[in-house]
């Protein structure tokens, strides 16, 4: 079964990298390059998984995560956070905010692909 995945990152190259990898894996992917756009899209399409960059304009990834977790209609959406920051405190904040997985930049697309499959299979 293929599922809709929402990918949000303000860096176009990384956005394309993630969407390309996930499309090759057979997923249907929609993308946004701002946090507020990502949230609007999430409410519209109710994706099975949202891959969110932490540092984004509009709303940052953690804020989008908070909004998604506060929205009952999005209860089925899993969230994977991407971050360029190496600080452990960031990871803790992400999990505290209800993230299902965390991938640090730079990540290997293959590793991301595995994590995405795990999350979708679990859900």
């Amino acid at each position: 079964m293929s599922a809709v995945i929402l990918v949000a990152d303000d860096d176009d190259d990384i956005l394309l990298l993630v969407t390309t990898r996930l499309r090759r894996d057979g997923h249907e992917v929609v993308s946004a390059s701002r946090g507020d756009d990502a949230l609007a899209l999430a409410r519209e399409i109710r994706p099975a998984l949202a891959v969110l960059d932490v540092g984004m304009p509009g709303l940052d990834g953690l804020e989008v995560l908070e909004q998604i977790r506060g929205d009952e209609t999005l209860a089925g959406t899993r969230v994977l956070l991407l971050t360029a920051k190496a600080q452990e405190s960031d990871v803790r904040r992400g999990y505290a905010g209800g993230a299902d997985a965390y991938v640090k930049k730079p990540f290997s697309p293959a590793e991301l692909s595995t994590r995405v499959r795990e999350l979708l299979d679990a859900g």
Partner: protein
């Protein structure tokens, strides 16, 4: 100022009167000198506090005497003040921390002393005696006004000088704070702005090397991209190491200790390196059993062991052998023995220094930044352990880490 009347009314010679006038002036100068010390870091030392105590005691005694010089006779209570002051002076001089006060501090740059400052200082020192001397030479009676004026000028000059010093220090402090802020921003820049382009480089290289996509790459192009892949992995490692060192220096290495089995973590690190060892034709073995429990941060401990194993692997040529041993010998001991290019006994002490690279490593053109062992040492010491390196007879080296073992730690408690 209380001595002024005595000077004016006194019947002693001019020199006697000058000495009496200078006496409290000297206290003021000493106080100014100590105030100078006070604005430096030296004020925390016990010797400095003793000096201040001595001076204040002396000032108080002087003032009591100055208030009513006529009623003073030797053996008076006031003498006790002076005696106490002398004892404090002596204690300050004998206190071991006195060495800290007198030790020359490294100067960032030579301070330029302007001629104006020298003139001001000399004027400050000489104004009071000069006025007295001139009045005396003229045969004029020493007026209260003249002496008060001279003393006031001196006090004003001393205060101005102190204000100048304080202002300069305030500027230096502001510059240091600014520099510290810029360093933090730089670390954040390494963390974010270097990782983002690396994500693209490494990610797209991997996509390009993906075998599932047609048309397949020919071997030549594939080998080029593999070089890009290896180089970017090395660059990422360097960025991480530099970031780690920057965090170490600003004291932000936060550990979350848990009870861990050193054997298990070491086996994991060896397992991770096994594939690289096979690719290089190096035998990598692990020796250790039973639980050797330590209190450590899992991520950091793994980083430490991976660091040591990777280091041994890097310096061991094909056909070599690396042995990782874990044992309990009072402390939790981990040894990494290799048959690598090694280093000299003289270099053993310096090998953990930041950016230091052994001669063999440079000659053998083994790539590295000289940060790996510095980081290994920092992590070991943050866990209350010790790390050492000894060259082996016939080539190779032994790296030994000792961490406080949980069981012995509990027994000693």
């Amino acid at each position: 100022m209380f001595v002024v009347e005595q000077i004016v009314d006194g019947t002693g010679s001019a020199s006697e009167r000058a000495v009496t006038a200078l006496y409290p002036s000297m206290d003021v100068l000493l106080l100014a000198g100590l105030a100078g010390f006070f604005v430096t870091a030296a004020w925390r030392t016990p010797a400095f506090l003793l000096l201040v105590g001595a001076l204040v005691t002396m000032l108080v005694a002087d003032e009591i005497y100055g208030l009513s010089p006529g009623s003073y006779s030797p053996g008076d209570w006031v003498d006790l003040g002076w005696l106490l002051s002398y004892v404090l002076w002596a204690a300050a001089a004998l206190h071991p921390s006195m060495r800290q006060l007198s030790r020359p501090r490294p100067r960032v740059r030579q301070l330029r002393v302007s001629p104006v400052r020298i003139v001001l200082l000399v004027a400050a020192l000489l104004s009071a005696p000069a006025v007295l001397l001139i009045q005396d030479l003229r045969g004029a009676p020493l007026g209260v006004r003249a002496v008060v004026t001279a003393a006031s000028i001196m006090a004003v000059l001393v205060v101005l000088r102190l204000v100048g010093i304080l202002r300069a220090l305030e500027q230096i402090r502001a510059r240091l704070l600014e520099a510290d802020r810029m360093k933090d921003e730089f670390v954040a820049l390494i963390s974010h702005d270097l990782r983002t382009p690396l994500t693209s480089i490494m990610g797209y290289t991997e996509l390009a090397l993906d075998d599932d996509v047609e048309p397949r790459l020919d071997e030549e192009r594939r080998s080029y991209l593999e070089v890009v892949s290896r180089s970017s992995a090395r660059l990422l490692r360097l960025v991480d190491d530099l970031l780690f060192v920057a965090r170490l220096q600003s004291g932000r290495l936060d550990l979350t200790p848990a009870t861990l089995d050193l054997c298990e973590v070491a086996r994991q690190a060896v397992g991770e390196a096994q594939r690289r060892a096979e690719a290089k034709g190096v035998e990598l073995v692990f020796d250790g059993n039973g639980a050797v429990e330590v209190a450590a941060d899992k991520g950091r401990l793994f980083q430490l062991l991976d660091n040591l194993v990777s280091n041994a692997l890097k310096f061991t040529p094909e056909g070599g052998r690396i042995e990782v041993r874990v044992s309990l010998d009072g402390a939790a001991v981990l040894e990494v023995c290799d048959t690598g290019i090694g280093f000299t006994a003289e270099e053993a002490a310096r090998i953990f220094e930041r950016f230091y690279r052994a001669d063999n490593a440079i000659e053998g053109q083994v790539q590295g930044t000289g940060l790996g062992l510095f980081i290994a040492q920092a992590i070991t010491e943050a866990h209350g352990g010790t790390i050492s390196a000894t060259p082996r007879d016939g080539g190779g080296a032994v790296f030994r880490i000792e961490l406080p073992a949980m069981r012995t730690a509990m027994m000693s408690r």
